[in-house]
């Protein structure tokens, strides 16, 4: 049973990891806590729902949903954050408040458009379960793990292997110098928001089909926990987010094992506060990146 809880923890943890890399992606480029990420994820999942229902083919529907979510994310940046960046005297808290505002707008738009009730979502990867000893693997768990790993690998490649990734890292390090070196910072930032939107949509889709359930507040609790995971791993560091997600997921399930279901939600927030107090830059974060 303990082992089973660990396995459960890993699969939940990878879901958190998937969401928390979204936070890290934007933080990595802009040093900004994208508090609107969870609701972008929700919007993405709902795009998937509506477009799949529109019946013009499953894969085209998902691809359109991905692009649309990416555009929502870009819209957020271009219409709300970019003007703040231009304005002198704007700082992290201004940006944070804007993100909180956008988060509320998106979340409540979702409520207005799609209704607050829970709706069914198709499970696209259910192939039964697999028992190894006393531990049961659910096929959806395995698929979600695999997909999460593929996406994380792809993101890692984008950031460390591709040219635009180099640009992203350069913008993070020194926006002005990147500009002078010929990096089009606007394009880089827009691209970052676009792929963070796509990641959000993928995460939303995976989560909705894993639980076969979709509803506007799906991102709220998830966002908070994933955020704690990102802070734990050192926000802005991709592999840190993954490991942070796994730690939060596993500790949560272990806590249920020892203390029962009621304490589960506390785990992530205890971790969050402890990390902020003890190691504000997180496990893998470089302290130079996080001026606390």
């Amino acid at each position: 049973m303990f082992l089973q809880q660990i396995i459960n923890g890993i699969s939940i943890g990878l879901i958190y990891a998937l969401v928390s890399v979204g936070y890290s992606l934007i933080f990595g480029v802009l040093r900004m806590m994208n508090m609107a990420y969870a609701s972008i994820l929700t919007v993405g999942a709902h795009f998937c729902l509506s477009l799949v229902q529109a019946k013009f083919g499953f894969f085209p529907a998902i691809i359109v949903a991905l692009v649309l979510t990416g555009l929502v994310s870009v819209f957020f940046d271009v219409s709300m954050l970019a003007p703040l960046r231009k304005k002198t005297g704007s700082d992290s808290v201004t940006v944070l408040i804007t993100a909180i505002g956008f988060n509320y707008i998106l979340l409540n738009l979702c409520l207005v458009i799609w209704g607050s009730e829970r709706k069914p979502f198709q499970n696209v990867f259910d192939f039964g379960s697999l028992q190894v000893g006393s531990v049961i693997f659910d096929s959806s768990q395995i698929v979600i793990m695999a997909t999460a790993l593929v996406i994380l690998a792809a993101l890692t490649w984008v950031i460390y292997g591709s040219k635009i990734g180099l640009g992203m890292r350069a913008v993070q390090q020194n926006t002005k110098a990147a500009n002078l070196a010929g990096v089009n910072t606007k394009v880089v930032i827009t691209f970052s928001f676009f792929i963070s939107g796509i990641t959000a949509c993928i995460a939303g889709f995976l989560i909705a089909s894993y639980y076969q359930l979709i509803y506007p507040t799906m991102g709220v609790a998830l966002g908070g926990k994933a955020f704690a995971a990102a802070v734990l791993g050192g926000i802005g560091v991709l592999h840190g987010s993954v490991i942070g997600g796994l730690i939060v997921g596993i500790l949560e399930c272990v806590a249920v094992y020892f203390f029962g279901g009621g304490v589960r939600d506390a785990v992530a927030y205890i971790i969050l506060i402890l990390v902020l107090l003890l190691v504000p830059s997180g496990l893998f974060g470089k302290s130079e990146n996080t001026k606390v």
């Binding site: 040093r31 005297g89 700082d91 992290s92 408040i97 909180i100 988060n103 509320y104 738009l109 902020l276």
Partner: protein, 331 residues
């Protein structure tokens, strides 16, 4: 001509007081105008949020720290008050004192270590704290009664009359505390302590150089702020008469922040007007209640972008400045 100008100004200055007094009189006598029970309730609610906004303003507007965990202090105040009224029959007012004390204590415990975090990190820490308080309230059943919550919370009795919503007592009770809160905030604003706070908001380092113990000042402000939130929590509990862990949500914290930003940080009159507008509007437009948080969201974005000094800059002579935090762009 010049004389006339001065007279006019003096007149304006005087009329400010007259208008103020008239508004105060009107507000106090609201229950006599046959205001319905519902209207009184809305008014009481506005008052409670006004106290909360003043409270958040102490740390956001004066000290420059943004907290998204104010609902947690409300919760702590309310729960402590309730537990003491139900478990130890010490009477309403002592229990209220205990509630406020516990809130202040929580402010100290949270404030001392986290106030050194700046900007966004502080926001996140307070958010986490708020969630944590909720989980504790849910699980500590022997004290908080868990998810079942606590009902029929006692109401204050003054001169043998129980203050209910129907007889306007709750409303006046709230007004009393609102007046106390306003007084406290004014006292702080014009004290040495208040000036130290402004100094910190404007430039933390310079304040330090000037010999201000910045962390002590900030923590003190936080304790005051938490205590005021505790007052609001107790008022809320006596008005609704039912408290459960989900009563004090992030939504409340967000609304408070919204009020403070809409009203203009640091401005007290702005705070009151903005509370009135933001709390009364969803009640007035119930059909638009669905869009309530969309509008709050827009307010946050628009105010931060276009009008950081708040709604009524004419009244607020203190343009507010957001705290310095993790920088965004060096370009």
């Amino acid at each position: 001509m010049k004389n006339f100008d001065i007279k006019l100004l003096e007149g304006l200055e005087k009329s400010k007081y007259i208008v103020g007094a008239a508004v105060a009189l009107l507000v106090i006598s609201l229950p006599f105008f046959g205001a319905s029970q519902y209207l009184l309730r809305v008014a009481t609610n506005i008052g409670i949020y006004a106290i909360l906004a003043l409270s958040l303003n102490l740390i956001t507007g004066y000290a420059g720290q943004v907290s998204l965990g104010h609902a947690a202090f409300m919760a702590i105040g309310a729960y402590a008050f309730i537990v003491f009224t139900t478990k130890y029959p010490i009477g309403f007012f002592p229990a209220m004192g205990v509630g406020i004390l516990f809130s202040a204590l929580a402010g100290l415990i949270l404030g001392a270590p986290t106030l050194r975090l700046s900007g966004a990190y502080f926001v996140i820490a307070t958010t986490g704290f708020s969630e944590l308080v909720k989980v504790i309230a849910l699980n500590w059943k022997s004290v908080t009664n868990g998810a079942t919550g606590i009902r029929n919370i006692i109401r204050p009795t003054v001169f043998g009359i129980e203050l209910t919503n129907a007889n306007g007592g709750q409303y006046w009770f709230m007004l009393f505390w609102l007046a106390v809160s306003i007084y406290i905030c004014y006292a702080i604003k014009y004290s040495k302590f208040g000036r130290a706070l402004f100094a910190i908001r404007d430039d933390d380092l310079a304040a330090k150089m000037a010999g201000i113990n910045t962390s002590l000042t900030k923590v003190t402000a936080f304790v005051f702020s938490a205590a005021l939130a505790g007052v609001a929590g107790v008022l809320y509990a006596t008005m609704t008469r039912y408290v459960e862990p989900n009563t004090f949500t992030m939504d409340i914290s967000t609304i408070i922040l919204c009020i403070v930003i809409f009203g203009g940080m640091g401005s007290m009159v702005g705070m009151l007007i903005s509370t009135f507008l933001l709390i009364a509007f969803p009640e007035a437009l119930r059909a638009l209640a669905m869009y309530r948080f969309i509008i709050y969201g827009l307010i946050l974005i628009i105010m931060v972008r276009f009008r950081q000094q708040g709604l009524i800059s004419g009244v607020s002579k203190l343009p507010y400045k957001l705290p310095k935090g993790v920088y965004i762009d060096r370009g």
